[in-house]
């Protein structure tokens, strides 16, 4: 009797809702994969079953890799996301460290100014930003987005790192200073190494956001050879009003795989970053 009750409780309280959440989260990816593996004849045949694949074919993947610059876009995306993440971590650390651990004039004002940048719409910035990029003659270069992405990332990273920097006891630093270390040495040799998980969280977050950025890439990268994956897929695989769904889905799936892979290695740190504000704040 009791056993039956727990069994039912497990089914309705855990397995069925869990299954529903997993199906909802994953079915678009299954649909991407199924579409990308069908030939056009099967894809647009209203009599064929939408869920099964009769004649699996790699034709869309071959077309994608030979007829478009897809691999260049992937390489561009990785390069841009990597460099932008590095710059943002560097600048974010320089901003967060004094704010979290030191007392100086203007600190509260600066902290507020950094927080307020969250509320500035990107759509207000893009016209002046395009002007600035134009003046620096950086249009259609990867530098255009490498320089602008950190504006979206630095405030967020600084805020996230501040939480980590504050957790290191002040005594550790004081002891190092008493022992004759300079502030710089205390920071680089003692405090920062202790915050490695914070850097991983902030880094993986910044990397994902850079890969995802759309508006600046759309404005500054119009030449096919400098495009990132999101802009390449939307700009070149959708040709006019014609949708090549097989190729589009192959591109969407291949474009998602690098992020999914990187993130599956660091999922622990990603979740930590996600929840740092929620749980600590």
């Amino acid at each position: 009797m009791v056993g039956e009750l727990t069994w039912r409780k497990r089914l309705f309280g855990l397995w069925l809702p869990l299954l529903a959440f997993v199906v909802i989260a994953l079915f678009p990816f299954t649909w991407m994969a199924a579409t990308s593996l069908k030939t056009n004849a099967e894809l647009y045949n209203p009599k064929a079953s939408p869920l099964s694949i009769q004649h699996p074919s790699l034709v869309h993947y071959i077309d994608l890799l030979t007829e478009t610059n897809f691999l260049t876009w992937v390489a561009n995306t990785m390069l841009v996301a990597g460099v932008a993440t590095f710059i943002s971590l560097l600048l974010g650390t320089m901003l967060a460290y004094p704010l979290a651990r030191m007392q100086f004039r203007g600190a509260p004002l600066l902290a507020i100014a950094v927080a307020v940048t969250y509320l500035i719409p990107q759509t207000l910035l893009f016209v002046p930003m395009a002007d600035l990029i134009g003046k620096m003659k950086l249009g259609n270069t990867l530098s255009a987005v490498i320089l602008t992405y950190p504006t979206l990332l630095v405030p967020f990273i600084a805020w996230l790192l501040m939480g980590y920097f504050k957790t290191v006891p002040k005594e550790l630093e004081e002891q190092a200073l008493i022992d004759g270390a300079s502030r710089w040495r205390a920071m680089t040799r003692i405090i920062l190494p202790l915050c490695l998980p914070g850097f991983l969280s902030a880094g993986i977050f910044a990397f994902t956001l850079s890969q995802n950025e759309f508006l600046y890439a759309l404005l500054f990268l119009s030449k096919s050879s400098v495009r990132t994956v999101p802009i390449g897929v939307v700009g070149e695989l959708i040709r006019g009003d014609a949708f090549y769904w097989g190729q589009l889905m192959a591109g969407a799936l291949l474009g998602s795989i690098p992020v999914a892979l990187i993130y599956s290695f660091f999922v622990k740190y990603y979740v930590a970053g996600l929840t740092a504000g929620a749980v600590k704040g």
Partner: protein, 312 residues
């Protein structure tokens, strides 16, 4: 032993005095060191965030078209917007989109967290799978959704027809109401894991003793949820919701890719309308005015959220 300790302590205390004077000592001062560190990021943010911001605000008071000189029009752009029905439509859409999607994500995310907060095998893998919609580049999953919602050959309508529920499915992106429902649905799909996983992390910090003592006091499953889980989760839910409101409010790519603001401007958000005015119509002053108007609307939403939480 104690002598050695004492000696080392004395040495340590003497150390600062031995430090060189001049530049090195100057740099060691807390405020000087701070500002030396802060100068590069602050200069960077002033150039690439401060300057564009003030230039954007400045532009919203000018009539400015592509490759033409700007002429000052005072509040002219805002007056124009006040009389522009599409602008008000975009304000309404943004509030509905943000509000409804946030409520769906918060309640769905709470449910996801409660389900996930039980013991079962493969929990880590499940968590990683549930987070996928949130980490995959938005544009790519949105293109997939466009194909899912395709009126003729898309998954939803094919399933409706195959299962015999309908002879032809609805035009998911073709009518104003259905298109709004669709963009809210896709945004909810993407943002749900953010709530679910964040709230789950919060749930795991509730001490077990709280639940135990509530059970001893006679609280059932619902009682424990209402009087233990929910109150201790409110701060977490508040922060995650604030974050989500800001992100959802500024969402651009979802609508840009899925509907382009159509049909007949019915799904424009303020962000996409600002973009289409600036880039499509070349009215950069007017576009900037729309973008600037987003700030008070977002402020209003955040104040409403705070008041709602306070009341609780």
């Amino acid at each position: 032993m104690s002598k050695i300790l004492e000696a080392s302590r004395a040495g340590a205390l003497a150390a600062p005095a031995r430090r060189p004077f001049g530049l090195a000592a100057f740099i060691e001062r807390e405020s000087i060191f701070s500002w030396l560190m802060l100068t590069p990021p602050v200069l960077f943010l002033l150039l690439f965030l401060g300057y564009p911001f003030f230039y954007g605000v400045y532009l919203s008071f000018f009539h400015k078209e592509v490759a033409r000189d700007a002429t000052f029009v005072g509040f002219g752009n805002f007056v124009k917007l006040y009389n522009d029905p599409i602008f008000w439509q975009s304000v309404r859409n943004t509030i509905i989109f943000t509000g409804v999607a946030t409520i769906l994500k918060a309640s769905g995310g709470l449910a996801m967290a409660l389900v996930m907060n039980q013991d079962f095998r493969m929990k880590a893998v499940t968590r990683a799978m549930l987070l996928l919609p949130f980490i995959v580049p938005t544009v790519l999953s949105t293109v997939a959704w466009q194909w899912i919602l395709d009126p003729g050959m898309g998954l939803f309508n094919r399933l409706l027809v195959v299962s015999g529920l309908a002879t032809t499915g609805p035009s998911w992106l073709g009518t104003p109401t259905m298109a709004m429902i669709s963009i809210i649905m896709v945004n909810t799909w993407r943002g749900l894991p953010f709530f679910g996983i964040s709230i789950l992390a919060g749930l795991q910090t509730i001490p077990v003793e709280l639940h135990e003592s509530a059970t001893i006091d006679g609280a059932g499953t619902w009682g424990r949820f209402r009087y233990v889980t929910l109150p201790s989760m409110l701060p977490v839910i508040f922060i995650v919701t604030t974050f989500s409101i800001v992100i959802t409010f500024f969402d651009f790519q979802l609508v840009y890719v899925l509907t382009g603001g159509g049909p007949a401007n019915s799904t424009h958000l303020m962000a996409t309308y600002a973009y289409s005015l600036s880039m499509g119509a070349g009215q950069m002053g007017l576009g900037s005015a729309v973008a600037l108007s987003m700030v008070p609307v977002l402020g209003l939403l955040l104040v409403l959220l705070t008041l709602y939480v306070r009341k609780d």
